[in-house]
């Protein structure tokens, strides 16, 4: 039993937790931006698949790693454009459209993979991002290694949270994004286009989701395989609710979640097959549901979430 407890004090455990958290941080921030602007984006799961593939393939074809990240982001933004166009000016059901985007993005990716790599039996590998130790900071006891012995994409994830928080609460753009999710008519009255702000938010959010997917193929692993997103997008949606639509709280949620995930993997090794491994694999999903139930009562949704806006309507 003490063995199960000691895991929590090993540096490698926390390093793994932050690594697992990184794609979730990107995806959660992406979904959070969309939802704060009033648009639920269930395209997230498929957009992550597309981002994971497009980033990886760019590098596989000889592109620079950062070019791969950029291509992934652009791919995500394109799907965001489609989701935004269908749900914002056309006002289609955000649930149905989002599921459609997920099906489309995932199937297009699989189709493209088969066309571009028809012959391969095992997925080819790339040289992924390597950990970069940040001097001084990494010497902080316990958390130093965990936070500052990671790949550059993880550092980008931290920066993303800071940037989202800064833009949301310190810039006019952020005020506009939050306002279209709460009271779009008031924004329109200020002479700002609700459509433009929402479209922009959905595209930016989708780009982040795609980078979250790319983290898996370009930093956590080094190749692309089907089903690798494995529900991470849906978990990100739960994390947004858990974080009550605030970047800081969502970040803490993602790290807590990832720590739990890293813990169950290690616990699985200790228990040595007495408990079926599926029980451990289930835990992240069960935990997400439990977390939702706990916070749901006091959750304050953006007031205009899932409410299409028509100019001149009240």
């Amino acid at each position: 039993m003490s063995e199960a407890f000691e895991i929590l004090f090993t540096a490698s455990f926390w390093v793994a937790a932050i690594r697992i958290a990184s794609p979730l941080i990107f995806a959660t921030m992406g979904e959070l931006i969309c939802e704060r602007a009033g648009v639920l984006n269930l395209g997230i799961e498929g957009i992550m698949v597309a981002g994971a593939f497009s980033g990886w393939f760019t590098v596989y074809m000889g592109g620079d790693l950062w070019t791969g990240v950029l291509v992934a982001a652009l791919t995500g933004a394109m799907f965001g454009l489609l989701h935004g166009f269908l749900t914002v000016p056309l006002g289609l059901s955000q649930h149905v459209t989002g599921i459609g985007i997920t099906l489309l993005a995932a199937s297009l990716t699989y189709f493209t993979y088969r066309i571009l790599l028809p012959e391969v039996s095992s997925p080819p590998k790339i040289e992924p991002f390597q950990p970069v130790v940040v001097p001084v900071f990494s010497d902080i006891p316990v958390i130093g290694q965990a936070l500052f012995n990671q790949t550059p994409l993880t550092y980008l994830a931290y920066l993303t949270v800071a940037a989202v928080a800064f833009i949301f609460y310190r810039t006019p753009v952020g005020v506009a994004v939050r306002a279209v999710g709460e009271n779009p008519a008031a924004v329109e009255a200020q002479g700002i286009s609700v459509t433009a702000v929402r479209m922009g938010a959905v595209m930016a959010g989708s780009a982040l989701m795609a980078i979250g997917g790319a983290f898996l193929t370009m930093s956590a692993f080094n190749s692309f395989f089907f089903e690798m997103i494995n529900g991470r997008g849906w978990i990100a949606i739960a994390l947004v609710v858990f974080g009550s639509w605030r970047p800081g709280k969502a970040l803490i949620g993602a790290i807590l979640f990832a720590a739990f995930d890293a813990y169950q993997i290690r616990l699985q090794q200790i228990t040595g097959g007495v408990i079926p491994y599926q029980i451990f694999l289930m835990m992240p999903f069960v935990l997400s549901i439990v977390a939702l139930v706990v916070v749901a009562r006091r959750a304050t949704y953006p007031k205009a979430l899932m409410v299409p806006y028509q100019k001149g309507e009240r």
Binding site: L86, G91, T97, I99, L104, Y110, W234, I237, M282, A296
Partner: protein, 349 residues
């Protein structure tokens, strides 16, 4: 741009927009086919031939349509009441689990008793599977989209655990699969020696029953009222939470029938690949049918035809069968857009 409601007499739009949706789907998939280095005409011809070009093809399409009718109905019923059941996959699998729990020898009864018993038990299992998220929604305000999606993953892992544990077939050469259901638990084939089974008839009958429930009963009226405007329905004295719970039971039960009929009619046992995403495809089927239970039959046959046809096509032409998934997803998006444009006019200003 803005949207204005069309006068209900605008007949041309009712044909033009859905036709446009199909055209857009065809154009996009043609581009993909050309990227793959094949001729769209050849490929579409092969898909059509593979879906309906022979008795074998046609029967195969109807066989594939059977689970899609059930999941399509499950989604149509739920979405009508704005209960976003994205978890038909989970309900399907748990229905299948209950089917093999009872059907592999635990209960001995003649066919006429055993099959209805299994059917009811499977439906109850699926119904309860969705009741959980429905109660979380009405009592705790937890969004059912996320809970039903997450449950899909939990249930699949649970099934995997059962198939490697208590439900594992000891004679299965170590494969994670259940024992086969006994002969008395198997649905008859409709034509001797062919794969099309009685589940198809059951699916058609279910669609008719659901149509009657939706159009002719108080429950159907209440479900539509809740879906249209829950607040107004509550104000009018409709017990909204009870209606949502009943919707969940009906929807979950229908999805479970897909699992029941695949096991007892087609596969004979439960494996982890029982459903290649029938639960998710059911959403497409329901939307293409505009949530009409009878339309679900046609939509399911259409979608099944694309899948069966694309499988046949990819064996002779060098185009991955994933083109079917792309076409189905595209048709979903273009169709929901077309339905909107049928009802509203776009004003540019």
């Amino acid at each position: 741009m803005r949207l204005e409601p069309r006068p209900s007499s605008a007949g041309a739009a009712k044909i033009l927009w859905p036709a446009g949706a199909i055209l857009a789907t065809v154009v996009l998939s043609s581009v993909l086919v050309m990227i793959a280095g094949a001729s769209p005409f050849t490929v579409f011809w092969l898909v059509a031939k593979g879906a309906a070009g022979s008795q074998f093809a046609l029967l195969e399409t109807l066989t594939r349509a059977t689970p899609l009718i059930f999941t399509g109905l499950a989604v149509a019923v739920a979405f009508r009441a704005k209960l976003w059941n994205i978890g038909a996959e989970a309900q399907l699998y748990l229905g299948a689990v209950m089917t093999v729990v009872i059907g592999t020898g635990a209960v001995t009864l003649p066919s006429a008793g055993l099959i209805p018993l299994i059917m009811v038990a499977a439906m109850l299992t699926g119904a309860l599977t969705l009741l959980g998220p429905a109660i979380l929604k009405t009592k705790f305000g937890v969004d059912e989209v996320v809970t039903t999606l997450l449950l899909n993953f939990i249930v699949l892992l649970f099934v995997s655990m059962l198939l490697e544990g208590p439900l594992k077939d000891p004679m299965g050469m170590g494969w994670p699969q259940s024992k086969r259901v006994v002969a008395d638990a198997q649905l008859p084939r409709l034509i001797k020696g062919k794969r099309l089974h009685f589940g198809f008839i059951l699916a058609i009958a279910s669609a008719i029953v659901v149509w009657v429930i939706m159009k002719k009963t108080t429950l159907g009226y209440e479900m539509r009222a809740v879906g249209h405007n829950a607040e107004a329905a509550r104000f009018a004295g409709i017990p909204v939470n009870r209606v949502i719970a009943k919707t969940a039971l009906l929807s979950g039960g229908l999805a479970a029938l897909a699992g029941f009929s695949e096991v007892t009619g087609l596969k004979g046992n439960l494996t982890l690949d029982l459903s290649p995403g029938y639960g998710y495809t059911g959403i497409v089927v329901a939307m293409l049918a505009m949530l009409n239970p009878l339309g679900v039959i046609a939509a399911a046959i259409f979608v099944a035809g694309i899948f069966v046809g694309a499988d046949a096509m990819s064996r002779s032409a060098n185009v991955p069968s994933y083109i079917a998934e792309v076409m189905v997803a595209t048709s979903l998006l273009t169709m929901v857009a077309a339905i909107m444009l049928m009802r509203y006019r776009v004003r540019w200003r």
